[in-house]
C-alpha cells in the first residue's frame, strides 16, 4: 500500500514564524497535494504539484508557498504564520495515470498558531 507520511502530527507555532510542513510518499507518484481542513468547510486545495519543481495554485494559495525538489517530497511553507492558518493540513499523492487514479492521504498535521 502507498504510504504518505507527514512529518508532524501536532505542531504549535507563534505568529510570524516561518513554518515548514513536510510530506513524503513512497510510491513514486507524480502528483502531490496540500489541503487544509477546517470545521464546516471541508477540504480546500492550497497547492498541488504534478512533477518535480512544478507547482500549481489551488483555491486558497495566499499565505503559503510550496517546494518540490525531489519527487517523493512536497513541502508546504507558511512564510509568516498567522492565527487564521490554524488548521488541519493534509497531504496527498496520486499517480499520473488516467483520471481514475486514487488519492492517498497522510494522517494530517494539526497546526496551531498562537
Amino acid at each position: 500500500d502507498v504510504k504518505v507520511t507527514q512529518s508532524s502530527r501536532y505542531l504549535v507555532k507563534r505568529t510570524g514564524e516561518k513554518v515548514f510542513l513536510e510530506c513524503v510518499q513512497d510510491m513514486d507518484h507524480e502528483n502531490m497535494f496540500w489541503y487544509r481542513q477546517d470545521p464546516g468547510l471541508g477540504l480546500r486545495l492550497i497547492y498541488f504539484s504534478y512533477d518535480v519543481k512544478m507547482k500549481e495554485k489551488g483555491d486558497i494559495p495566499e499565505g503559503y508557498s510550496v517546494s518540490r525538489e525531489k519527487k517523493e517530497r512536497f513541502s508546504l511553507i507558511l512564510e509568516s504564520a498567522s492565527t487564521n492558518q490554524t488548521s488541519m493540513y493534509l497531504c496527498a499523492s496520486r499517480g499520473a495515470g488516467a483520471h481514475n487514479e486514487k488519492l492517498f492521504f497522510g494522517s494530517g498535521t494539526q497546526l496551531s498558531v498562537l
Binding site: 498541488f48 493534509l90 499520473a96 483520471h99 488519492l103 494530517g108
Partner: protein, 108 residues
C-alpha cells in the same frame, strides 16, 4: 471543474442500507466519479469509483444513471463504525477539488 452537490448530513440506524446521492450536472465525457470516506482525525480514504452503471466492491456500491448527472453511494447494513464524512468527487484533471461532503451519523 465539475461541481458536486450532496446533502450536508444524514442519520441512519445500524443494520440499515444507506444511500447518499450526489449531483454533478456538468460532468464531462471523460470524468470519473469517485467517493472518499473520512473518519475524525484521519485523512480521507478512497471507497469506490465508477464511470457508468453500477460498481460494487467489498465496502459499497455505486449507482450511476445513464445521463451520469448524479450518482448514489450505497452502504449495505451500516454499523456504528461507518459514521464518517463521505465526499463525492468528479475527477477531470490534476486539480482535485473536494466539496464539503456528507456527514453520516449511524445511531444504535
Amino acid at each position: 471543474l465539475a461541481k458536486t452537490t450532496q446533502p450536508i448530513s444524514m442519520d441512519s440506524y445500524e443494520g440499515q442500507e444507506v444511500n447518499i446521492t450526489c449531483s454533478h450536472n456538468n460532468i464531462a465525457t471523460n470524468d470519473y466519479i469517485t467517493w472518499y470516506q473520512q473518519f475524525p482525525s484521519q485523512g480521507p480514504r478512497f471507497i469506490i469509483q465508477g464511470y457508468k452503471t453500477k460498481v460494487t466492491n467489498e465496502v459499497a456500491s455505486l449507482f450511476i444513471p445513464a445521463d451520469r448527472k448524479s450518482s448514489t453511494l450505497s452502504l449495505p447494513r451500516v454499523s456504528l463504525s461507518d459514521t464518517a464524512v463521505y465526499y463525492c468527487l468528479v475527477v477531470r484533471d490534476d486539480k482535485i477539488i473536494f466539496g464539503k461532503g456528507t456527514r453520516l451519523h449511524i445511531l444504535p
